[in-house]
């Protein structure tokens, strides 16, 4: 018991655990959408594209969250615009837009001489968050969760069959941008904890794992949240004992769970499929 309680004596560990859970729950929910809709690269793109937003926000003195959100939405909107008005495929356009914005962020960074550390933005610093960060992240988490849960049936039908969503009167264009806004918000909330580079892992792995394990959307959401929060707790505690950085530890655990699901999932795991095949 002591073994488990010892890390909790430190305030930075308490804060790390709280913000870890606050980040992972909405990330897990949104990851189901990314996996089902094939938006994984969009998650990566928006995550990278927020960098110039953070830096411009810092320069002009507005909250970094707002700058990041605007930049994320700009990336999604620009991708949509360029795809519609050219013959290029969406993933190509996205590759150009997000790497361009990310590079712009790094170039802009050379002009600010500050206490803003690039590696904290890139890799996160879950052990260095303040109570203020936690309140901010908590507010975003609540909003994203509420929006997603209230609209989850619409999101389900939009992800599964956009044409049917259209014929029953759901405005699919609005839906698309609303979901991209939620995605941007989750990324913005996650940056403090896991950073721009690793946020994509928490945005895809939980959904990918639960996709392998479940046959229904609601169950997929629950499994995704359970896996994500479990890995977050284990990762943060584990990193305390092996003295590693928490965010990469969480991502390594998620990857291990993914491999386990890939091998042993009850219906689709490749080992199960093989044994079922040999039994017949």
């Amino acid at each position: 018991m002591n073994w488990l309680l010892e890390p909790l004596r430190y305030e930075f560990m308490q804060q790390a655990i709280i913000i870890g859970l606050l980040v992972m729950v909405p990330a897990a929910v949104v990851s189901c959408l990314l996996v089902l809709r094939g938006w994984s690269l969009m998650g990566d793109a928006v995550a990278h594209a927020v960098l110039p937003g953070i830096i411009v926000a810092y320069i002009i003195g507005i909250p970094m969250v707002i700058g990041a959100f605007i930049a994320g939405m700009l990336c999604a909107a620009a991708t949509g615009y360029f795809t519609e008005h050219s013959r290029l495929k969406e993933d190509t356009v996205m590759g150009v837009v997000f790497s361009g914005m990310f590079a712009l962020g790094i170039v802009l960074f050379t002009f600010v001489h500050t206490n803003l550390h690039l590696d904290q933005v890139l890799f996160g610093n879950i052990l260095g968050v303040s109570w203020n960060d936690i309140i901010q992240t908590g507010a975003i988490t609540l909003f994203v969760l509420a929006a997603f849960l209230i609209k989850r049936k619409d999101i389900l039908v939009f992800a599964f069959d956009p044409q049917h969503a259209g014929v029953i009167g759901i405005n699919t264009k609005h839906m698309q941008y609303a979901l991209l806004a939620l995605l941007s918000l989750v990324i913005v909330a996650s940056i403090k904890a896991v950073g721009i580079i690793l946020v994509i892992a928490v945005l895809i792995a939980p959904g990918a794992i639960s996709f392998l394990l479940t046959d229904r959307f609601d169950r997929m959401l629950l499994v995704s949240v359970a896996v994500a929060t479990g890995c977050a707790l284990a990762g943060i505690f584990g990193s305390y004992y092996i003295d590693s950085a928490p965010a990469p530890t969480i991502v390594v655990l998620l990857t291990l769970v993914f491999i386990a699901a890939f091998l042993f999932a009850p219906k689709r795991g490749i080992l199960r499929v093989k044994t079922a095949g040999s039994a017949n």
Binding site: K153, L156, V157, F160, Q163, H164, V167, D215
Partner: protein, 329 residues
């Protein structure tokens, strides 16, 4: 959750159309009733001067005109790239119409969608069959448009889902994940969704592709009974052989309407030649190959991958086909 008022209106129309269609028993009577319906404004789908130009300048549809009355099954026949999908999208209000308009039950296309007027049965290739939904979940999606903001199903919604599943014979598969079904079963699930949605207009995109012969017959039977309930059914199909079997009307399309109207009048060898040019396989068996006497009548088999259409006689008039469905290469 109660049924929105617009729906009861539709229901009123529904019964009116039903009794209207019941007047005539012969094909001629039915045709007269249809013409009359359209003239009275009881038109299912009506396109007038419809032109759709995509942003890249590609003219997908040009000056398309047709009218399909209620209680009709209409085939939409044309080569790939002839604008069939664009026409579907225009009916669903998904593409901006450049010129002209599409009216559904007398109202402009885009406006009627929120009332669940149009149900769409997608091609099997368009659906992600790995998606984590069960058969009953998909059918329940047909009810979403009748539910409130949170889409919480009422007792009525569940009842309609049960009923729709029973009608297509898929009740025992309701707890299956959709990928675990055969091609014909998959199609029937989406038909059940259209039934549950209670759309007056049903659009089917290639309903017979990847579907076994038994399922095909079951689907045709179901479409007929829906027609008799007053629905307007527009079917895009490559399965030419089944068209005379169950379609009342045919629209031949190649960017514009080549011909449309009653199947017997439109679905002729000359017209199919016009619609398909050299892209169909034509096999003609003439006099001495077919007959021992000097009978000049000939058998024409026209095929586009799927079930061929067989025409027999001097003027190669459309006939009920007898041949088996042959596999696509």
């Amino acid at each position: 959750m109660t049924v929105p008022p617009s729906n009861t209106q539709e229901h009123g129309r529904n019964t009116a159309a039903q009794s209207g269609a019941g007047i005539g028993d012969t094909a001629d009577d039915r045709m007269r009733v249809r013409k009359q319906q359209c003239a009275e404004g009881d038109c299912g789908i009506e396109a007038s001067n419809l032109t759709v130009v995509y942003r890249n300048g590609n003219v997908a549809l040009e000056n398309v005109n047709f009218e399909i009355p209620t209680s009709t099954i209409c085939a939409l026949v044309g080569i790939n790239g002839s604008g069939k999908s664009t026409l579907f999208k225009a009916i669903m209000g998904f593409v901006p119409v450049t010129v002209g308009q599409v009216d559904i039950l007398g109202q402009p296309a885009g406006k009627v969608l929120a009332r669940n007027t149009v149900a769409y049965v997608p091609q099997n290739e368009e659906v992600d069959w790995n998606f984590p939904v069960l058969v009953e979940d998909v059918v329940m999606m047909g009810r979403y448009g009748h539910m409130g903001l949170l889409r919480i199903p009422s007792k009525l919604d569940r009842l309609k889902v049960d009923h729709a599943l029973a009608r297509v014979g898929m009740s025992e598969y309701r707890k299956r994940q959709i990928g675990e079904l055969s091609g014909g079963q998959k199609k029937r699930v989406f038909l059940a969704r259209a039934l549950a949605q209670e759309g007056k207009v049903i659009l089917l995109d290639e309903p017979f592709t990847g579907v076994d012969v038994n399922s095909e017959d079951a689907i045709i039977e179901l479409l007929r009974s829906l027609r008799d309930d007053g629905h307007v059914i527009l079917v895009s199909t490559h399965n030419l052989g089944s068209v005379p079997q169950f379609c009342d009307q045919v629209i031949l399309i190649n960017r514009t309407v080549l011909d449309y109207g009653e199947t017997e009048a439109v679905f002729t060898q000359t017209n199919l030649h016009r619609a398909f040019g050299g892209t169909l396989r034509f096999h003609v068996l003439t006099g001495h190959e077919l007959h021992d006497d000097d009978d000049t009548r000939q058998v024409t088999v026209i095929s586009d991958d799927e079930r061929p259409v067989v025409l027999y006689g001097d003027d190669a008039e459309s006939d009920e086909n007898t041949s088996d469905k042959h596999d696509s290469p």
